[in-house]
Every structure is written in C-alpha cells, then in structure tokens.
Symmetry: D2
Subunit: 344 residues, 4 copies
C-alpha cells in the first residue's frame, strides 16, 4: 500500500498515519516522492482498509497496489494458492512428494525406480529428459526418447510427470508430456523461457537460482504469472556459498520468508541442496519441519550406475526412510497448526 | 587412517588396497608422501582393522591417527560424547534446550524471562553478562553485576547458566558463575581464548564463526580439546552469505555433516541464525528435524524493550509454541532411530 | 597432459615421473584410473614434450589432451587468441575499450554518447537493444528499433557495435546488427543460447555469471567453442558476495587465473562490477593493472535520465579521465612485459 | 549530519531541505524520529555549513555528528590521516611498502629476506613472531625469540618492524618490538585486543576480517580510535567467497569505498588475498591502481622451505618485479591526481 501525502501535510499528520500503521502491526517506510513525501507499507492491505487511511488529515490518496510482485505477492490473493498436478494438491494441507532419478537413462532404470516410488504412495515422478549440464561433454539426456519413456511410466504406474524444460526449441514437446514443467535453477533468469512457461497451460515449478535473492526469485515468478499462468510453485534447491561440506547450502529460512511474501506454494529439493546422499534425509526432514509444501527428491534404483548426480541419489531403502520420517514430521506440523491457530 | 606404502610397491598392490577400502565403504585418496606414495582414508578405522591392511602386499605400515582433528574426530572416541551441564545431558537421547534473553539487563527482566523458561521444563538459562558488540557505542552488558544476577536466577529457578566469555581478562569470573561457558562466533578463532577455555573445568559451547568452514570449526574445537577440556559442544548459528532475507543463513546440513566427522554434540541457535522473530520457530523445528542435539534460543519478556537483538527474541507466548513443536519433532526422530536402527 | 602408468609400475617409477614434472614447474596429481594409477598434469604440454615422459620406466602412454576444456584450454592453442572486432584486436598488445549507455533509449541519447566516446579514440560502442531485467515491469529495451539506431550510430561515428543477445527468438536480428554479440551474466548457463552463439560467425563476449566459478565459466565458453565459433572473449563483471558496499564484488584475480588456464582474451566490466559511479574509475584502473585485455564501460550523456543503471554510468567528463588513466597504466604494463620478458 | 525537523514542519519545508542537500551533492534519508521526522545526511558536513540549513523553515536543529563511526568517519577529520611508522608516511603522497616472510623462522631466513627487501628501497619489514594458525598442531611462531630477531633485523638493515599481536598476554612484548602492530583478520572483532591496541602508543594496522562488511571494519577501527590511539591503518586482505580459484577474493573496490567513508589510510595485502604466487603481482598492481596507500607483501628467500604460507610467498626475483611495477603505476596515479585535481 502506498500512501501519497499532500504537499502541505504536516509532519504531525504523517506521524499520525505512521502510528495507525504501526498499531495495525504494519511496517512502513517514508519515501521522498515526486510531489510530496509518501509512505510505503508493503503488506498493509490485509491489515487495514484504504478508507481508514484516506480519511486521515494530510493524506491525498491511498494506492492499493503495493508490491513490486503484483501477482506473486501475498497481498494479491485472498489466501494461499493450491496448485493441482494430476490430482495432487500442492500448497494445501497434504505434503506433496515428487521423486525419481536425476535423468531418464533407460526404460529399465526409469521403471525400476518408478515402481518403488509409487509403492510408497508417492504420486509424482521426477526425471529429466533434457539435462542442462555444466560441460558440453557430459550426458545431456535422452531428449524426446526420454519424454516417451516418461509417458509410458505415467501410464504404467499412474504417476504425474515432473520434468524440466531447458529451452524454447523443445518446450512444446516437454509441455505435451509433462504434468508439471520444471524450470531449472540455471534458467531462473532466462526470461524468454519464463515467458514461454507463462503462456503454458501446465503448472510450473520454478527453482531458485543458485545466487538469487528471494526478491529476484519472486520477480522471476512474476514473469511467469504476468503472462497468464497462475499455477507456479517455487522450489528452493540450495544456494552457492563458501561453506564447503556440501555441494550447496540449503537455505531453509527462505521457505517461511517466501511464504510471508507470496501466496505461492514452496517446495524444497534436498538432493541438489546437498549433493551428498548422507545429508539428503536429514535435510528433507528439515525442509518439512520448516514448513515446505512438498519435496522433490532424487532416488535411483542403482545410484552407482547413474549417468548424472549419482552421489546424491537415495538408495531405494533410504527412500522409504525419507518418506516415513517426512510424513511423520508433517503430521506434527498439522497438529501444531490446529492447536496454535496459525498456518505455517 | 594413513596407509604408508613401500617404495617398491607396485601400482597393482596399491589398487588392491584401494579396492579393499572401497568395498568397506571407505573413501580413500592417494598422496605423494616423502618416501613413497601413501593412501589417506580419513574414516577407515571403524570399518576396517589395521591388521587387515597391514598384511597386504606393498603395505609398509598403517598409522591409525588419520584425522587432523585428533581429538575431535569421530575416529578418536568409541561413541558420541555426552556433555553434562548441571544435570542436563547434551548429546544423548534427550533434546537439550537453553533459552533466555540476549543480554542480562536487570533483575526484573532476567527473572521474568527465567520464570516462563523454567515453567516450560527448560533447564538451562542463556543470557550474556559480557556482550561483544560491533560498535563500541552499543550496550556492552552489565558485566560482573550481570553474572551476579545470573547466579541469583540459578538459585531462584533451579536453572543451569549458559553465558559468554568474551576475553581472558574476565574469564575467571565468567567461569565461576557459568555452568556452560559460551565462546561466541566472533571469537571462534581467538586462539588465546580457546586455550584458556581448554584449561577450564567447565564445559564449553563453541559457536561456529560466521565465515568458518566445518573444518575450521573442528580445528577450533581441537584447540579447546587439546588443552585437556573434553566437554565441548558445537553450536551452529548461521553463516554470512549474500542471501538477504534474514540476518544470516542457517546452514542446517552442517549438523549431520559435523556429526559424521566428530563425536561432539551439535546444537543450533535459530535466533542469531535468522535475526527475525517470524523465522525463529520454523528454523528451530528444522534444526531439531535435521538432528541437532539441542537449541539455544533467545526469548525476552518484553522484546520491544530489549537493549540488544530485540527483533529476534521470541515473545513468551511464541516460546511455548517453539518448545512444544520442537519436542514433538524430536519424538518423531527418536522413533525413527529405533525403527531404522540408525543414530541421527 | 595425462600420464597413464603401467599396471605393474613401481611407486619409485611414479615418483621419478612426478619429480620430472616438478622440476619443469608443472603441478601434478595422482589419480586412480580404470586400469592403473595415472598422473594428471593439467598444463604440462607447454613445459614438457610427451616423448620426454613416454620413455621413462613404468609409463604406458602420454595423452596430450588433458583439460576438460578441450578448446578453451591454454594447452589447446599455440599462443593467446586475438579476437578481431571490426578492426579492433582484442587480446593483443593494445588495450581494447568498449563504452556506451546501458541501453539504447533514443537517437539523441545514443548519438550524444557515441560522439564523445568516439572522440576519445574508442572504437567500440556498447548498448543494449534487448535488456534482460529482473522485473517484468522494468524497461526492456527498444528491441529492433534499438538495433536500427545502433546501425546508424556505427555508420555515423565509425564504431563497432557490442550488443546483447538475450534469446534465440531474436538472435538473428542481433547477429545482423552486432559486430560483437554479448551473452549476459544471467545467460551464462543458458546452454541453448550458447550453442546458437557457437554457430554464429560473429565474435562472442561471454560474461561471467554472478555465481559462476572460473571452471564453470570456461565450460560455458566451451559450449560456444565446440559449436565451431572460436572467437570468444571472456568478461568478468563482478560476482555476488555478502560484501555490501557495492552492487557486486569485482573479482580481479580471476583475470590472471583465467589467463593461466585459457588462451581466450579476458575483458572486465567495472560498471556492473560496482554499480556505483564513484567506484568505476578506480576499478577500471585495477582491471587494466591486473592484466585485462580490455574494458566494457557504461557511460551516458545524461546519467540522471537513464532508464536503466543510471547510478553506475559515468558522466562524459569522468569518462575522459577513465580513458586517460587506463591507457597510462596499460603503457606501464607493456613496458614491464618487455623488461621482464613475461606476458601478462 | 542529522537535521531535526520541527513537529509542525510541512512536507514542503522538508522537501526544501532535501533539495538543498541534493543540490550540494549530498545523499539524504528521511527518518521517523522520536518527536518528529528527521533527515539523516551522512556526509553533509563538508559540503554544507550547519547554519545554511538551520535558518531554513521547519528546521529545529542541526546535529553535526552524523556518522556511527564518530572518529573513523571522513566527517571527523579535516583531511586524510597520515600515519608515520619509523619515518615512513602512510596515507600521504608516497606508496608505502612492507614486505617479508609470513613468519620469522630463523636468523638466516629473516636476514636473507630482509636484505633483498631493503635493497629495493623498501623501509618496512613484515614478519610474524606469534602466528595465529587454524590448527593447534601447526607451527605457531618463534614467539619472544622471533621478536628478538626482528629487533636485530631492524638494527642491521634499518627497517621498521611490522608484526602481529595475537593476544593480550604477549601484547606488551610485541608493542616493545614493533614499529607497527598488526591486528590479524581473525582478530578483527576481538574487542578486548582492539581496546588494548587502542591504549598503545604504537600505530596499528587493522586487517579486515574475512567476512567483515566495510561498516563492521570501520566499527572495529572505532574500537581502537575511541581508546585514544589515532594512528590506525586499514588493510584489505581478501574476503571469503565461493569463488574458488584463489584462497580468498581480493575486494579491490573496498579501497575507494573505504576512502569515501573514512580519513584513515588503506593498505592491501595481495598475498593473503590470493594465496597463489602467480596471482600476487597482478593483484598488487591492481591494489595500487585502485588507490591503496600501500602494500603488505609476503616474500621469502626460499618459499619452498617456508613453515607457513609458502605457496603465496614471492621469490626474491619476483619481488623486484612487484616493486618496480607497483611504483610505476603509482606514478601514473599521482600524475592523474594532479591533472584531474582529485585525490584518489
């Protein structure tokens, strides 16, 4: 909310407005506007009606659009957004799990992995057909053949498909095969790709860039939303820091911080966030405990043979532990929400 | 474990040793030693007996001390260390909680806070009498008067005292009053202070420096341990990164990563790790879920009047929620440990 | 250079090879290969001939291609690559300067700026027609109209054009108008775009991503090179760190570090690296002093009216100082190269 | 400068003050004060006299102390501070060079190094007698014997001594032997040590902590200054980032940024900033070019035998190149200052 003051407003009038905002629990900042001083109160619209302020002395006008994230902002929606992916509701009361290998490598590998994923009651299968790789000489994915295998796995195991679109050239094909289109961390500011995703009818999972602030991440979501696609899920996957015991640093606090600013669901990928198998389960538990709406997890029937990211893929037996532990923690949160009256 | 090869050992002999290590699940690195090639296998001593390797062809000697953290290393102790602080066991099956205001400000403030902390069944009171402050013009703590008040609070509420030693000059006084001596993040590489703490009979809580790698943190612990004090607790409190939605970035994955390398207990301080009241409870839950042995939490009877770190101190009502939620998550972990047979 | 040892090679034979490498000033690492131990010596091929090593005891084969950056690596070219852009040689003995506004805004703005840029003897005009912007609501550039204006400025002031390609959709148009195609920092790992640039006949300026390691940057260059385009210029533009006095942290040491690994020219953009006008000239001097082959500088005839990045654009008068000071420092380096016999 | 407005001041009156500040090139921020709105203009006192503002409508009072760094701030001194160390003026027109080994290891090593340092006309010898080391098992310096050797080197070669004080216990001894007392990066927020240094009559070289912002660094300087010691030199030595081609990231832009905020001299240590011998000379040139008042460089008569930091110590022959090149660049800067009329 932006409160435009009159040019002749007194400082006492301004203080009265500031006190009104403060007593409603709203943070406010005085700004030097073009014609007069203004007051910016980023998240005031839920706590205060504009007419309460517009009738105060010295106030010229109250502008309701307050967030630079016009569509991603909490202010812009009546409640939290729930994105539905082939029947799975992400952002609602249930914990959403998506699991599978880093990349589709063969029918045997994909089906063997999909089978034990589905047996755990997980409804979403994640695997890349197109793989963005740091080196041009690394395995780049099976491409269209991988998409075909994903469709077969969907039919066979009744699983929704989460797979990455890496470029506009092959976006149409990914769109046809995917139930949830992933935009990878390295493409978080590939604005042409974001706009294309914004014109898709499929929901979009937007990973946080390895060096993106929360604000930049929400701006990237805004690119998708502003093209018309309102089904955007955010996904934290670890950030780049100097801390060197893991591949990335899982930034757990960004989950509640994001939920304070946006109505969009927030998932966490503990596999890329750590890059070490022995850290994945503990960090998955932490992600659920901090309030994530779901997890995106790498698991592989034979991690030692994986063509990419083997060291971070969970073994089948570990995956079962992860699912059990995360669900149990999620139950704790749901009970705490009920008894405390707060939504996490 | 360091495997010294003979100067004339063949490459095939070396590969045989490497394969033995690998089949035992041990990572190994070939090094160019002074007289011959050596093999460094940092955590081999639990998986393999030295004589299994010493009888292999080409092996000259197996040196059991393998870690640069001779005393902090997992290799150096038969199991996990449990540090006892006035009857509270840290590092064992129970979740250890320490809570209180950032600094001792007055008897009223300290007692009011200690009262509701104790009422939650928390047994440790944290508060600083000596405060390291970025600016020389900020409140520096009540000093000796603060220690006196802490002793009174201990007597009144039956709470163990956790308080910071900031310098050698006043270490003796802090030592007399404290049940657990805290070494702050900014002093993590104040080696003179570490050595003094190493000669204390009190247990030591060693906070991770804001830019310290896991390895540097363990070296700092080694400074304390090598002076004779074996009761060291590590405490993660957030690291400095460019991620700007919170004061620091809570590095949850360092907890299981540290536990893989050291036998020492690991606690987490979600208050300094976030600096924002609304993020403290979610991050406290994440810390417990990731496997922390305990929490160090800031709470204040009247945060809005706090002389330091008010924005991150929990309100009394919030504190009750934190305790309830964290204990419930800890129960989930204990059950999972029992059913999976692993210790987190 | 990869030295494959025989399976039965003795450790003494390995040490003899290692010592030969060391005495030639080459760093080497022992690796555990598929059949035997190998020695990786990344930059040995200039210091040592393969046959010198192949005749040594225990050596099975010497493989000359040693770098994961097959084409970007210093090993892969006989000397430093010089990229020619409309007559300007980048990577040779002269300091290359490219300057202009962040974005093309109007003919008046572009021509006024181009005029004083050309008057300083600068031969390359930089300005974006397509602007990647964090927010979808920010000025996104004039697009095709901007390219048209750039062509007119080239004709009017005899300047080569440096402008950014942000997506494949409009790549052809940018390619037609540009003398040097810029790939922006946020697109450094937009692999589809890199491959398209690799099929262009225009030289490419590849900015370092804000969180890219030197290795990742060279891999990105490898994507361009491996498609056939050998005219790649690297450009450091500041990295994202927690250091908050400037918009980014200019990583000067990456310039000599890159030049040790690759034969490609390296330029520096001190404007994005700092984001503060008062830091641009000092950092431009530092970039030249550290050994950069050229600079990419933002200057604007009226920075206070700029539609993007005004705070970092140099005033015309400042720009003259920058050019004078940087050229004078470059003269010092050239003299030092001659007297020391080293190339920086 | 803090401009306190009257409670009844109109917004137009405030804008008039803001415009006056702006036209004088001063940045200003509106704040919500206890009784009325205030205007904070951090560096206004050189550009504007208080009475110019105090006579304006709506202004109640102008408070001259504007910086949280009361003594370190540019506002607090009439010009730049020049610190004299045994006849060497640091912060004035000449480039100050201090060089020597990381640690004192023996008379032979120290004298051999001091000899060629002195032969280059360098007047300050740097070497540690007390070494803060990450591991308790690393070489910790010769201690008092090292100080004795430094005194002998001073007498023999007529060099001022720069050496580190690591703790209060041995501060008196270091103080007696040193001409310039170094506070190391890891002790930048060891406040007890800073206060002790503030009570010394020797000048102090304060290294920037590896994760310290510019503001925290200046607060640390303020600890020394506020105890009475006004002879403080700042020294940038690289910061901790994820950029992994060098040991630290040399933050060159902090030099001009610091000089904009403080009157204290700023030196640079390119040796710790890079940790790689081949990067030291380029980064030393960059440091001089960016405007550093001097350099602190590690050089060793036999780096391959150094007990600490050998890989970053310059060979004697390299050291001569460094001195020549840096002096030549400094001459360029001095000429540019004269012709432009600005001080860098």
């Amino acid at each position: 909310m932006l409160i435009l003051m009159e040019a002749g407003a007194t400082a006492e009038q301004m203080r009265a407005v500031l006190e009104t905002l403060e007593s409603a629990g709203v943070r406010a900042v005085v700004q030097d506007g073009a014609e007069a001083l203004n007051i910016l109160a980023p998240h005031a619209s839920k706590a205060l009606k504009p007419d309460r302020l517009e009738t105060m002395g010295g106030v010229r006008k109250v502008v309701p659009i307050t967030s630079p994230f016009k569509l991603a902002s909490s202010d812009s929606a009546p409640g939290r957004t729930v994105v539905e992916v082939r029947g799975v509701k992400i952002g609602g009361p249930d914990l959403a799990l998506a699991a599978g290998p880093c990349g589709v490598e063969s029918r045997e590998q994909l089906f063997a992995t999909a089978r034990y994923v589905a047996e755990q009651g997980v409804k979403l299968l994640r695997a890349g057909a197109f793989k963005p790789r740091t080196s041009p000489y690394s395995f780049q994915g099976l491409g269209l053949e991988g998409l075909q295998l994903l469709e077969e796995a969907r039919a066979e195991f009744d699983l929704g498909i989460v797979t990455e679109a890496t470029e506009i050239e092959t976006f149409d094909e990914v769109e046809r095969s995917a139930d949830l289109i992933q935009i990878g961390a390295r493409n978080m500011q590939n604005f042409a790709l974001l706009k294309r995703a914004g014109r898709s009818e499929r929901p979009v999972l937007l990973k946080r860039g390895p060096a993106a602030t929360l604000e930049e991440w929400l701006y990237a979501a805004e690119y998708v939303l502003s093209e018309g696609n309102r089904n955007v899920i955010l996904c934290e996957r670890g950030i780049r820091t100097w801390s060197d015991h893991a591949r990335n640093t899982l930034d757990v606090s960004v989950v509640p911080a994001a939920k304070a600013l946006t109505h969009l669901p927030v998932m966490v990928d503990p596999s890329h966030a750590t890059g070490r198998r022995d850290l994945v389960i503990p960090c998955a538990r932490a992600a659920v405990a901090v309030g994530a709406d779901g997890l995106l997890v790498e698991t592989h029937c034979h991690p030692e043979k994986a063509l990419s990211d083997g060291p971070q893929a969970l073994l089948p037996s570990d995956f079962i532990h992860l699912v059990d532990q995360c669900r149990a923690i999620h139950v704790v949160l749901k009970k705490a929400e009920q008894s405390s009256g707060f939504a996490f």
